[in-house]
Symmetry: C2
Subunit: 617 residues, 2 copies
């Protein structure tokens, strides 16, 4: 009998791979074993419904309460289940729909703000070292003769450089290439190898881990690769991951290992595509929010989970990459940009660098919209920062048919007499991502389907609406794609709930900007420029961002989209140690403002829920 | 049949332990497996005959040519074999005589030259860190608040200190003990732990590895432990070990692992006897000759094997002890004193520190007699150094019945009407060690049994000799112990060959001193003091050291025996970072003189072979 067998196989289609698990474990666990990436942003809590799979055959548990509340009876009848909740009772065959998979996102641009001459922290120098010589009475050590040949006063040498030296001198017949990190001798290689000198800038996001491979000799960017942050399986957002770790060292290490695994996959991919070896990567820089930063380093993030949200460390960390288990040159150095506060992390410091806020005269604002939103305001180079509890609605979370910006996501909506949608990779629509949500709300507000309060207008007040749009009106929702046109076979709806979620997020961001400006004695009208950072920002429509009150009303020419500015900051720091120093210095001078419990913020937050909070001015 | 079985057991008596090996491997290999320490200073070459064992029963190879030449027919008949050569053909039972064992030597004294106030490089400070506080608007990082509580500008922190911090703050309820190495934060511990703060000074000798445990808070020495350097099995001297490594990274690592294993045994013993944990050892210093230094760090010593004998590194190395596999606190720091040249190593730098040569006004000489001999001459604080190719005769090597200064070694000889010997631990004599050899030669020269040239006087010229001494005269030798009185059952002889070996060594040392003084325009008569370093030195008779021409003739009050001054230097550097700095600075200013190929040295060497080279002046 199957229920006397402990181990069973779960086969996943269309992949045709199988994972072995114990009876009583979930389909999601089997998927992880089999290497099938199923999205589970709620951290296995059965709340988000993103991990739907269809059971074709086999023994499975009866639907749990979470499944009964998130799945329609017809869906359950068709075998649809939540992979994170449904437990396996016997051998099973399961179909994983594309909409439930973790897929590579659209690449976020991480463009440099200006051309940067490569002056990396690590340097490679080829030098010929004359041998010790009895006749010349030169009995000096190999290392001493090496420093003399370099014409540098003997400085600090890494242990590995010392042990590598005699072999390198022998194999290179006296000619070696030395690698420095700053003034410290990192390693010595036989012969002339200075052309092989690469670095990677890492952007460790809550949802996505991205790497940028740079030729440190020429400054050329050689490739980009990204993966979903695999920590997502244990919690979609920062707070869920902190809750998951529970001050348990093993769990902190598990999350660390999981993100380092993703980094290694990315390094392997980048190296493979560029036809180099990971051992030629000598230097990495890293940005991420404070929690991602702490987990990346294996630092317990528990204190980030409750007021006053103090981080363990804000200072910039430098570490040998292999200490973290990163596959690069054995002596490769990793430098993390510093954090500013518990919820203003190294990613925001990257934005600070890429937006050049600390060197601009005038009044500027930069907002980084990712899983959270951080706001920087700079007045003649003096910078203050805050974090707004924005939440990941623009990443698709908590949105009924929300999804990440992956193939099939509705990322653009426009309305004339009828509704036109655009999807990523022009695929049949599977759901809606951040820019699509903003477009949809903005357009529906424009044509009156949504009121200023965010409420759907009563249908009987919409009799003037073109018939094609009328046909899309639903009770408490609007159909962006019909069942016939959608890639899921079901309608893709924007619901009243979705609009409320977006209002919460956009109000948090808007109020954050307003409160910070107010503290400096300013209003949005005084701004000389507003920078929107975040891969998401690159795809939103400026008019709608203002239209729905996500950001203050301002001339469009003052509005700049930086793309992945956090990643750009990491690249700047990688390319040039001068840029790194500049960023570190300006980050150390940023003033942090805590908005939690700030009465001005609470007041702004209330009235900023209005969609056209700022459109009348 | 036994010869179809691959694995056989070799049982060792009186230990009653067994080692399993393959048929065809040696008894020595089986002994290593079983953990039985058998001496093999010639590096398994069948040359020194120190690894004699007696086979009681079992199948063994026929005597090899090395055994036929080193063992008497009677000995072979009694089952005596060389463990390094005899190969095992079947299960075997073997007796290991005490004279063939590696035993702990007499402890070398490593007395400090003056009292030193403990000011170690590593410091422990207990501090209460106020929590982050919403009401006080204190959102700063744990690490930032820690540095503030210490009242120190935030400096460099080890990664391990950062990861340890949140747990330590939680467990210590805000009170933590920080450990610094210099200005760098090494680690953080919960609560008040500053009383537990220990360090170990390591003296890595070619033949002996010694460790000195010091309480770094009080400066008290808590214990000493030593072991034979287990690298001895692959070569008794520096040159054999270099030949063994053959530029082969695996072999370098093997020798490194073997000495690190001995260090770990020593640390475990020291910690156990002092009832502390090795994890409370935060700091180590290390001295050793250049080759031992290189092998300790896993640095290929190949270039030390041939002219111009350039080392790989002379600069002081600092490394986390765990990087070398040393069992101490995970962040424990190890600092090696620098080397000066290929054959003037960190051990000589230790002697430089302990002899205070660099701070004396006047003309001074220090000689470190170990497996090799290094000479330092200082004129008003300016120091020059050289190495003499002395060889390990005083360690018992190449001496017919030579042995290390272990229990049963003859370490003192005096002659009146008859001969009196003293043995270590007052045991029945097993052989003769360095101080015994010098005494024996000195006394026999005094009574005319040996001529000034080192030759044994013809027996017919010795008719005036007391009968008790006459009875000890042998053809080409002199019996220091009769078969009846010896612990081996055989006579213990001083042979003509032994005297020649000692003459080579003493001439090298004497000529080194003379040549160096000459280069400074001086003769031995100008010396204000002569320091003899080396554990060996502590036991020799001053008169005989001068009498046989080991050192220049000088008033005995100018002659000082420092004991293990290399170890004392390591202890000084451990106890006080100021002493460390002073030693490093003076070592960097030492001028190195290469005696190889120096015509003056060659000339002195020739006539210094005479035993009473300097007695007539």
């Amino acid at each position: 009998m199957t229920n006397t067998i402990n181990k069973v196989l779960v086969t996943f289609l269309p992949d045709e791979v199988a994972g072995e698990i114990n009876v009583g474990e979930t389909i999601l666990t089997a998927a992880r074993r089999a290497g099938v990436a199923i999205d589970a942003p709620c951290g296995r809590r059965g709340r988000c419904g993103k991990c739907r799979v269809r059971v074709l055959s086999g023994e499975i548990s009866a639907p749990a309460s979470e499944e009964l509340s998130l799945l329609q009876p017809g869906e359950l009848a068709a075998g649809e289940r939540l992979a994170c909740v449904a437990t396996v009772l016997g051998a099973l065959t399961v179909v994983v729909p594309e909409s439930s998979r973790n897929m590579t996102r659209r690449k976020g641009t991480a463009a440099l703000p200006y051309p940067i001459t490569p002056e990396p922290w690590t340097r490679k120098i080829c030098v010929a070292v004359p041998p010790a010589d009895l006749a010349q009475r030169d009995f000096r050590a190999d290392l001493t003769r090496l420093w003399t040949a370099l014409n540098i006063t003997e400085g600090e040498s890494e242990y590995a450089a010392v042990t590598a030296l005699p072999g390198a001198l022998l194999a290179g017949d006296g000619t070696v290439t030395v690698v420095f990190a700053g003034e410290r001798l990192l390693t010595v290689e036989a012969g002339e190898t200075s052309a092989a000198h690469y670095g990677v800038a890492l952007d460790i996001g809550t949802t996505t881990v991205a790497g940028y491979l740079v030729n440190l000799r020429t400054g050329a960017e050689m490739g980009t690769a990204s993966l979903p942050n695999p920590q997502g399986i244990d919690g979609a957002d920062v707070i869920s991951r902190i809750e998951y770790t529970q001050r348990n060292g093993e769990r902190v290490r598990k999350l660390q290992n999981s993100v380092i695994g993703a980094v290694n996959t990315i390094l392997g991919t980048l190296a493979g595509e560029a036809e180099i070896s990971v051992a030629e990567i000598y230097e990495l820089t890293m940005v991420g929010n404070t929690c991602m930063h702490h987990l990346f380093f294996g630092i317990d993030p528990a204190t980030l989970g409750h007021a006053p949200y103090a981080p363990v460390v804000t200072a910039p960390l430098t570490i040998r990459a292999t200490t973290l288990g990163i596959h690069a040159h054995p002596q490769a150095q990793l430098r993390a940009l510093p954090n500013i506060a518990g919820f203003v992390g190294a990613d925001t410091v990257g934005v600070l660098g890429a937006s050049q806020l600390a060197t601009r005269s005038g009044l500027y604002c930069a907002v980084d919209i990712g899983t959270n939103a951080e706001v920087l305001i700079a007045k003649n180079g003096r910078v203050v920062a805050c974090s707004t509890a924005a939440g990941p609605a623009f990443e698709g979370a908590k949105i009924t048919h929300g999804m990440r910006a992956q193939a099939g996501a509705i990322d653009g909506v426009s309305i004339t007499d009828e509704l036109t949608i655009h999807t990523i990779d022009e695929r049949a629509p599977l759901g809606i991502c951040g820019s699509g949500i903003i477009d949809a709300i903005g357009e529906l507000r424009r044509v009156g389907v949504i009121e200023s309060s965010g409420r759907f207008t009563d249908h009987d007040e919409l009799t003037d609406l073109p018939a094609a749009l009328q046909a899309r009106l639903r009770e408490g929702g609007f159909a962006l794609a019909t069942a016939a046109k959608s890639g899921t076979g079901n309608e893709i709806l924007l619901t009243q709930h979705d609009i409320r979620e977006v209002q919460l997020v956009k109000s948090a961001i808007y109020s954050g900007i307003l409160t910070m400006l107010e503290k400096l004695g300013h209003t949005p009208a005084d701004l000389d420029g507003l920078y929107i950072a975040g891969a998401f920002g690159a795809y939103i429509t400026r008019e709608h961002a203002i239209g729905i009150g996500l950001i203050p009303n301002m001339p469009l020419e003052k509005l700049h989209f930086l793309g992945n500015a956090a990643g750009a900051g990491a690249k700047m720091a990688l390319l040039s140690t001068h840029e790194y120093d500049k960023i570190i210095t300006s980050a150390a001078e940023v003033g942090y403002v805590e908005l939690a419990g700030d009465p001005a913020f609470s007041e702004h937050f209330m009235y900023s829920m209005e969609l056209d909070v700022d459109c009348g001015e």
